[in-house]
């Protein structure tokens, strides 16, 4: 590491392609990831747009059901493994974990770079799989459809996800060891910001759940290549074993997607209410509880799949238990806003939108945890609306909130505030218009993954598709003004929001070694009562 003079920012510390592609600086790797993530977000988003276009008329508009099946499979695979699972941890997490800890870099910088190259390789294999035809099995790959009857390119798509899994494990491992070993002197566990706690909980899931997915996909490919395997009902194998193993990863994976969002919101609400987080310890242990109990509830995806009655009852009870920590978090955020000094900048608008939409998504999860209601509502558009409310309404809003909140620190530029607020409002409106009608469609019984549907569902589908138009505009807007701000944005001071946290004590953008001298931490996070001077 060439120790350039302290004030050279990490962006100016070498402009050659080599200095970017072979960097071990966690900040540069975060930038590389932001570029890759944004590409996959819009690729998956384009597939979603085609799906809504197709569903705007009862007998489908895009040619054949074959294409439609491959479209929603591509949308699912790209969004889950190439946007939602990595999103906050690898972009904001990579950039901020060392900064918030007061460390110079992550514990294993070379492993961090390997994680990005694994992600890149996985992305290329995924694009190759899509270009040669994609899969028609949905992102869930249920057997025996996927192992014997699917004519799609299953092995290529599965290989992409397999590699992306190891990229997640590498990032998770890096974060856990860094948070354990590289905290600044004086930073005890309870002096850490909640964003680090939620990334720690996320990394625990990443490290312990992703290997199970990798093995399950290997078993699936073994069965598809050799025509025989442990899932094959012809020799007494159990297709439900695949579903159990798949959902053992995939339910904790949805907590991997939402937990970093909780962390971002727990940073933004105190910053824009000028008040410390309400019930810090409860929010922290709620994250850890979600990470642990999240592993006990996967059975609620299989209430009608043929599992035993007894296990369904057990999974339903545990699913209600896992909803309690999320409820605690929502109450604590609202408690934080109580008696605060609230400012309505773009990050705060996204955060408030997050609380509303995530709470709606979470509550509809209670419908699906109630056994009898799940019998009617599962596999319909009710489920589609539920997880889009939590993933898109919750996770993507939190990602945009975090992106706007830390944009000055990452790029050294200020984004145009009015455009930021406009984008937040358009996304909120477009989102609700797109996905709220789907709750009604689900209750009326419209099944998921249908290329064409009976005509009496048309009105609500048309409404939903028009909402998707607004949502698309809402997502393209930030791409525009954030890119604009890179070149013409106002130069950002070290602490534009007057927020607490070690990352705001270094200049924006920070020098390569983050802190000229390792900071000593003396007080708990979010001490806004001492009113850090608002320099803006």
């Amino acid at each position: 590491m060439t120790h350039a003079p302290a004030q050279v920012s990490y962006l100016d510390d070498g402009h050659t392609l080599r200095s970017w592609l072979l960097t071990t600086d966690h900040k540069r790797i975060a930038i590389l990831y932001i570029v890759a993530i944004t590409f996959f977000f819009f690729a998956g988003g384009f597939a979603a747009f085609l799906i809504r276009y197709n569903l705007s008329s009862p007998n489908g508009l895009i040619g054949s059901a074959e294409t439609y099946n491959r479209l929603f499979s591509m949308h699912g695979i790209l969004m889950v493994w190439f946007f939602l699972v990595p999103a906050v941890p690898v972009t904001l997490g990579n950039f901020l974990v060392p900064l918030m800890l007061g460390a110079r870099d992550l514990a294993f910088p070379r492993l961090n770079l390997l994680s990005w190259y694994l992600f890149l390789a996985a992305g290329l294999v995924a694009l190759y799989a899509i270009v040669i035809g994609g899969v028609d099995t949905g992102w869930t790959f249920y057997t025996p459809l996927t192992s014997f009857y699917s004519k799609g390119h299953v092995v290529a798509a599965v290989a992409a996800i397999f590699i992306a899994g190891f990229s997640s494990i590498a990032t998770g491992l890096n974060f856990i060891v860094t948070i354990h070993k590289l905290r600044a002197p004086g930073m005890t566990w309870y002096k850490m910001p909640v964003f680090l706690w939620s990334l720690y909980a996320t990394s625990v899931i990443l490290v312990l759940a992703t290997p199970v997915l990798a093995m399950t996909l290997l078993l699936l490919v073994f069965e598809r290549i050799f025509g025989i395997g442990v899932f094959d009902p012809a020799i007494g194998g159990d297709p439900l074993l695949f579903q159990h193993l798949f959902w053992f990863y995939s339910h904790p994976a949805v907590y991997v997607m939402i937990l970093p969002g909780f962390g971002v919101i727990s940073e933004i609400i105190p910053a824009f209410s000028r008040k410390e987080l309400f019930g810090y310890k409860f929010v922290v242990w709620a994250s850890i509880a979600i990470a642990v109990i999240g592993f006990l509830v996967w059975g609620h995806h299989m209430f009608v799949a043929g599992t035993s009655l007894y296990s369904a009852l057990v999974f339903s009870l545990l699913s209600y238990m896992v909803a309690v920590p999320s409820a605690i978090k929502v109450f604590n955020w609202i408690g934080t806003m109580h008696k605060g000094y609230i400012r309505f900048d773009a990050p705060m608008l996204y955060a408030i939108g997050f609380i509303g939409l995530f709470t709606t998504g979470g509550l509809t999860g209670l419908f699906l945890a109630a056994l009898a209601a799940d019998v009617h509502l599962t596999q319909t558009y009710f489920v589609v609306a539920h997880f889009h409310y939590v993933m898109v309404g919750g996770m993507v809003s939190a990602y945009f909130a975090g992106l706007h909140f830390w944009w000055p620190k990452i790029t050294g530029r200020l984004y145009p505030e009015m455009w930021g607020r406009a984008g937040a409002i358009i996304i909120f409106v477009g989102f609700n218009l797109t996905f709220f009608p789907q709750f009604l469609l689900g209750y009326l019984g419209m099944p998921r993954r249908y290329f064409a549907y009976p005509p009496h569902f048309e009105a609500l589908n048309l409404l939903s598709s028009s909402g998707a138009l607004i949502l698309a505009v809402g997502y393209i807007l930030p791409l525009g003004y954030l890119a604009w701000s890179l070149f013409y944005g106002e130069r950002a001071p070290a602490n534009p929001w007057g927020a607490t946290g070690l990352e705001w004590t270094t200049p924006s953008p920070p020098p390569t070694e983050n802190f000229p001298v390792t900071p000593i931490v003396t007080q708990a996070p979010y001490q806004y009562r001492q009113a850090v001077a608002v320099e803006r």
Binding site: D238, L240, L245, S308, S311, V314
Partner: protein
């Protein structure tokens, strides 16, 4: 130096003794049966972790990771096999004409 070697020899011989116990459980004592083998296999894994991998000397962080691995495996295998083991409890089709 020699104390470390002696300790390792003790661990290795304990492992071979447990291997013999495993065979005994399988053949000599049919009463123990599969449960006995499982218990012996688990102790062998524990002896290897503490003997060869020297878990005792490591800090709290390493203990946390080792305990997490064991706990998550029990979740996967325990809760995962709850469904097939109880599937016949309420046989779906029990109608008697």
């Amino acid at each position: 130096m020699t104390t470390v070697i002696v300790r390792l020899v003790a661990v290795a011989s304990l492992m071979y003794a447990l291997l013999a116990a495993e065979l005994a459980a399988a053949f000599a004592f049919p009463g123990w049966g599969r449960g006995g083998i499982a218990v012996v296999a688990a102790t062998m894994a524990g002896v290897a972790a503490f003997g060869f991998m020297d878990l005792r000397r490591e800090g709290a962080t390493v203990w946390l990771f080792a305990a997490a691995a064991v706990l998550w495996l029990t979740i996967l295998l325990g809760l995962g096999s709850l469904d097939p083991l109880t599937r016949t409890l309420y046989s779906t089709v029990s109608a008697v004409p």
